[in-house]
């Protein structure tokens, strides 16, 4: 499959009171066209930072990019002119579905107004215009009409009942599941190549989550859009993704096609993480120790203080990616070769 996004050796630091926290440590990530990639890991492992770095919306002042590149359709977004990224990429070619559908709308305006505001700037038809849209500029009538039709069509696609009336309603009149449907519609409307979905179902109940996941998967597959889906829920990753990448303390540990990831995990961390999911047998296994501080991270592989397989080598040198099978890459000096559940 054609490469759409390639993150290479990305390093990001955050300024803290105790010194710079190394939140991303030479991260690699690949997304092919039309592929749904799950990014899993515990909170604080850098999932959201990576998603924000790709979108170019890291908090200015606090975050500092210390190296690496984010190649999108062949060009490095980190070195490109920010004005061009803003006009052509962010919100157009790459869109975003937030975690919390409750605080992502302004409570003061009808959702239709808010979606049309988005379309004024980011509609795929805006590209045909000679001049870029201006803040107080006119919204050309012909394009407004076409965009309005597209919005109604998108609301129908995400199964919002009575789309024309729904556009005149205020955000509080929608339930959490419906607001997340609206967010999906907004992410699809600019006809992007890549959607970054940051834990889009954690705030929802399981029955609603199942409906949203089904809808999202159907829509992105139908339109051939790639998705980067961050989550800490391994079950939803299994549900939705073609490929899964696991991160720990700012380093990527393993990347594999979904079946191999869950069926034959090779990294000791992946195995411990999968085993900590409560199973039907009622046994509960945790990972001893705590997630390290990112201000003074352990050297080498950052999982080594909690790893049963760790040797002197692991403390000094971060393992290079090793290809075990087609598309199955692991960064470990001592990968495990056994089916899942056969002990770490």
């Amino acid at each position: 499959m054609a490469e759409l996004l390639a993150v290479r050796g990305l390093r990001v630091d955050f300024a803290t009171d105790r010194g710079p926290a190394q939140v991303l440590d030479a991260i690699n990530l690949d997304i092919a066209a039309g592929e749904v990639v799950g990014l899993v890991g515990e909170s604080g492992c850098g999932k959201t930072t990576l998603a924000r770095a790709i979108l170019g919306i890291l908090p200015e002042g606090a975050a500092r990019i210390r190296g690496g590149e984010v190649r999108f359709r062949g060009t490095d977004l980190l070195t490109q002119d920010p004005a061009i990224v803003n006009e052509r990429v962010r919100g157009r070619a790459i869109t975003f579905i937030p975690q919390d559908p409750f605080s992502s709308f302004s409570p003061l305006f009808p959702v239709g107004t808010q979606i049309m505001d988005l379309m004024k700037w980011k509609s795929p038809r805006a590209r045909e215009q000679a001049r870029p849209a201006a803040l107080f500029g006119r919204y050309p009538r012909g394009r407004h009409r076409a965009d309005h039709e597209a919005v109604l069509e998108a609301l129908r696609a995400v199964q919002i009942p009575e789309p024309a009336r729904a556009m005149r309603r205020l955000p509080h009149e929608f339930s959490g599941g419906q607001r997340q449907r609206l967010m999906i519609a907004m992410a699809l409307l600019p006809q992007p190549d890549l959607i970054i979905a940051d834990e889009p179902t954690t705030a929802l109940d399981v029955t609603i989550q199942a409906q949203i996941l089904r809808l999202l998967r159907a829509l992105v597959k139908e339109r051939g859009v790639s998705v980067l889906f961050t989550t800490h829920d391994l079950g939803t990753a299994h549900e939705l993704c073609d490929r899964v990448v696991v991160m720990y303390a700012g380093q990527e540990m393993e990347a594999a096609p979904t079946d191999a990831f869950f069926g034959r995990p090779a990294h000791p961390y992946t195995r411990r993480l999968l085993e900590s999911v409560p199973g039907p047998d009622g046994l509960i296994r945790d990972i001893p120790g705590e997630v390290p501080s990112l201000v003074t991270p352990p050297g080498g592989c950052r999982f080594h203080p909690r790893c049963d397989h760790a040797t002197a080598e692991c403390r000094v040198e971060r393992p290079a990616p090793r290809e075990l099978a087609e598309g199955h890459r692991v960064r470990c000096h001592h990968p495990v070769d056994a089916p899942a559940g056969a002990g770490a």
Partner: protein, 322 residues
């Protein structure tokens, strides 16, 4: 099974309604958050209470705790009716009953050191001397797996997981008999969740605790609870031993709820998940069976007649067609 022990907690037709008022303060309706719930929890048992948000499971927990007075029905704790006790008498029950919020660490006063924080409940509820309290506090701290040295630290000097342990220690200093855990693992990572669940289990053994485990995470309930009660819009729709209910759920709602949980390695639920729609507004509860608006089996009888909980296949189910 041997003769079952007398229940530690028994609810009989417990109801808690809230008034809905118009902007001018006139009562315009009732929100029936808990509407006729009967339950029994035996000593040493863990009962799981599951349901979607807004089904009334937290209101039920808070009504048992005495945070809300019940609208109707009885709460019997160790054989004694406690729902309508006067304030002063209620306080003596309070130490036997404790409530754990989602993040027990977040309820620590940031300006108090851990030592005084743990002494405070004992000062209020017991007549122990300072030295006796100190011994008690150190024992509890050891039980939750924290060193003595932490007594002189402030909450912000501990990690999130350690704060959580202090929060639990604070609840345990009074040696309660029943602990209500309200969504204790929601928002946690699986690995952290596993250590928290392990801690709950070891505390249950050490202190002979009885748990009511309120959660929307079915896999956690399955791992932790012997019994399970499924709530929908203020009513219990199915209640019985966890293993039985998970193996062969009988109520259509329980069936959809279990089918919606993503399972690693299994069939993907998004391929064949059928439940449509969202729970109706609890201010406007459907007539008859409350689940009928989303139920695949619904017929005319479901709208006319509310199904009672009836024994079936080793559990109780409220459905005409189960």
């Amino acid at each position: 099974m041997s003769a079952p022990a007398a229940p530690l907690l028994e609810l009989v037709d417990l109801a808690r309604h809230f008034t809905v008022r118009s902007p001018f303060g006139r009562r315009v309706g009732w929100l029936r958050a808990v509407d006729g719930v009967s339950l029994q929890v035996r000593p040493g048992e863990t009962l799981g209470l599951v349901g979607e948000s807004g089904c009334g499971k937290s209101t039920l927990g808070k009504t048992v705790m005495g945070i809300y007075p019940p609208t109707a029905g009885e709460i019997r704790f160790a054989g004694r009716e406690i729902g309508r006790l006067p304030r002063r008498a209620r306080r003596t029950v309070a130490r036997d009953l404790q409530y754990v919020y989602q993040d027990p660490g977040a309820s620590l006063d940031p300006r108090w050191k851990i030592g005084p924080l743990l002494h405070e409940p004992l000062r209020i509820h017991t007549a122990l001397t300072r030295a006796e309290r100190d011994r008690e506090v150190r024992a509890i701290l050891a039980a939750v797996g924290l060193p003595d040295a932490h007594l002189d630290l402030y909450p912000h000097e501990l990690s999130g997981g350690q704060q959580r342990r202090v929060g639990l220690a604070r609840i345990l200093t009074l040696r309660p008999r029943l602990v209500i855990l309200d969504e204790p693992t929601s928002g946690l990572d699986v690995s952290v969740q596993a250590s928290v669940l392990k801690l709950f289990r070891s505390l249950q053994e050490t202190f002979a605790l009885t748990y009511v485990f309120i959660s929307h995470d079915l896999s956690v309930v399955r791992a932790m609870c012997a019994g399970i009660a499924v709530m929908y819009l203020g009513k219990i729709v199915e209640c019985g031993p966890t293993a039985r209910v998970f193996e062969a759920p009988r109520h259509p709602y329980t069936q959809s709820l279990l089918a919606a949980v993503p399972r690693i390695g299994g069939r993907r639920v998004t391929w064949d998940f059928a439940l449509e729609g969202e729970p109706p507004n609890p201010r406007d509860i459907p007539s008859g069976c409350r689940f009928r608006t989303r139920c695949p089996l619904a017929q005319a009888r479901c709208a006319a007649e509310e199904p009672p909980l009836r024994p079936l296949d080793g559990r109780t189910v409220a459905c005409h067609f189960a």
